[in-house]
């Protein structure tokens, strides 16, 4: 196909073949440009990116572990945190105290935290809520429709919803104290 880079012909100064250098530089540059482009997206942990941000939060009407119904639309006018979790998810356990703390700290300001239990056993979910002193509802999503409506890509995933029912921030993965609290401050 292509000619092998032969030894420099007599009369030519020996050195690195120019064609090889050029093709490697072209490939490396294009690789770097694309990699940088995708990197820029990945370092954002503010929760302000994501297809759901700025859209109306999909409504749901779900039962908690004790059979009590909760509808998101009933909470219109209040800031709401919707957190998808499961007892088998380790990051969910690590962030559970932060959510319980937020519910306790900002309840007076009207904040309501709602947990949506994702593919979990009811008994294990109940034990989890007792262990982490979770005082907000743990809602069952038996056919997974709510998780699909919210475009949940993995758990934990947490949605901050404003008083007008619009999704303001989406946190993928374990919550960070700083960005989570900053997001809540904006909702209040």
């Amino acid at each position: 196909m292509m000619s092998a880079p032969a030894d420099p012909p007599p009369g030519r100064l020996p050195g690195r073949p120019r064609w090889l250098v050029v093709s490697l530089v072209v490939a490396a540059l294009s690789f770097a440009i694309i990699a940088l482009g995708t990197m820029r997206i990945s370092v954002d942990t503010s929760g302000l990116t994501g297809p759901q941000v700025g859209r109306p939060a999909p409504d749901f009407r779900l039962e908690d572990l004790d059979g009590r119904l909760t509808a998101l639309s009933d909470l219109r006018g209040r800031p709401v945190v919707v957190n998808f979790w499961a007892s088998w998810c380790i990051p969910c356990r690590e962030e559970a105290p932060l959510l319980a703390d937020a519910q306790a700290r900002y309840a007076a300001a009207g904040l309501q935290v709602l947990g949506v239990i994702f593919q979990d056993d009811a008994g294990a979910a109940r034990a989890f809520m007792e262990r982490f002193a979770v005082r907000y509802p743990g809602l069952l999503d038996p056919d997974g429709q709510t998780a699909i409506d919210y475009g949940v890509r993995g758990i934990p995933e947490t949605f901050l919803i404003g008083r007008d029912g619009t999704i303001r921030r989406v946190f993928l993965g374990q919550l960070r104290v700083d960005t989570f609290r900053a997001g809540i401050q904006e909702l209040l």
Binding site: R18, V22, P51, E95, P97, Y150, G151, V152, V177
Partner: protein, 339 residues
Amino acid sequence: VSRRRAVPSGWILAVIGGVALAIAVLAASTGSPTMAERARVLDLQLRCPICQGVSIADSPSESAAQMRTIVRDRLAAGASDDEVRAYFVARFGTWVLLAPPADGLGALLWILPGASMLAGALALLWPARWRRLDVVRAARTDVDPDVDVDPVIARSRWPAAAGVGLILVAVAVPLVVAIAPRVAGQEISGRPASQTLLGLEELVSRAQAQPDDTTTALDLGAAYLDAGRAADAAEAYGAVLQRQPDLVEAVLGLGVAALDGGRPDAAVALFDRALAIDPTIADAYLYRAIARFAVEGGTSELTRDDARRFSAMKPTDPRVSAAERLAGGEVPARPRPAP
């Protein structure tokens, strides 16, 4: 170098193009697919949201099964394939489509690799004839020795260089796009471990040289704790807190120093403060349980809750057995942090 030798390669290209066209026409003209076939095709196009780069057709997960059910329900309700895709794109974004959309930036992903591959192949094949011409031209220098041959030979390699470069681009683009989201998904949250390999003396001299360096001061505090010098540790952490009163690592360290220094009541208050700053610090629950055990002289409900919370948050931590013993009412010793 006759014209006749160049013709067959043109024919080969024409035949390949013709066959590809025929296949495309045949594929397009076969009868309209059944609903099950449409569902199967859609399954293969939709990304399983909780998996890694697998379609919902290929994943045994519950989420994928739920999405397959939705695909079939919507087709049965009369939705078109585009409407089914739009249903999922509205919820997950275009990310849910395993094949990126062929418009906007997505179009570039489709066109760039193919175009560069084709251009690269042409650049590699085409100059074969040019090179032969160059050789002929170079041979003429035998007649006229004053003609410089080298630039001719060097120039003949440029198209090949471009070809290699373009083919590398064609391979690199889809590769990066495929790998990048996975790397992004592996982002690990957590605070940096302040483990250091420096010895205590070295840390002391560093801290003296740079008294305002927080990292060094925190490392020094940890080193004092390891050496059993609780009072010195408390001083190191206290100095940090003078500058940054809400630095949770320093509050936690000061609490451990108070615990080791025989002041469990002060330690409980410090762990409370650490957890008010950041409720996700698992260590603070464990140490608060130990301190409270010392204050109360036994395992209370609060102590048990804290110990069990630590075990739940850090199930693989070597200190879990100590936490479980504490929850069971055994006298605890302060377990060393995980190495």
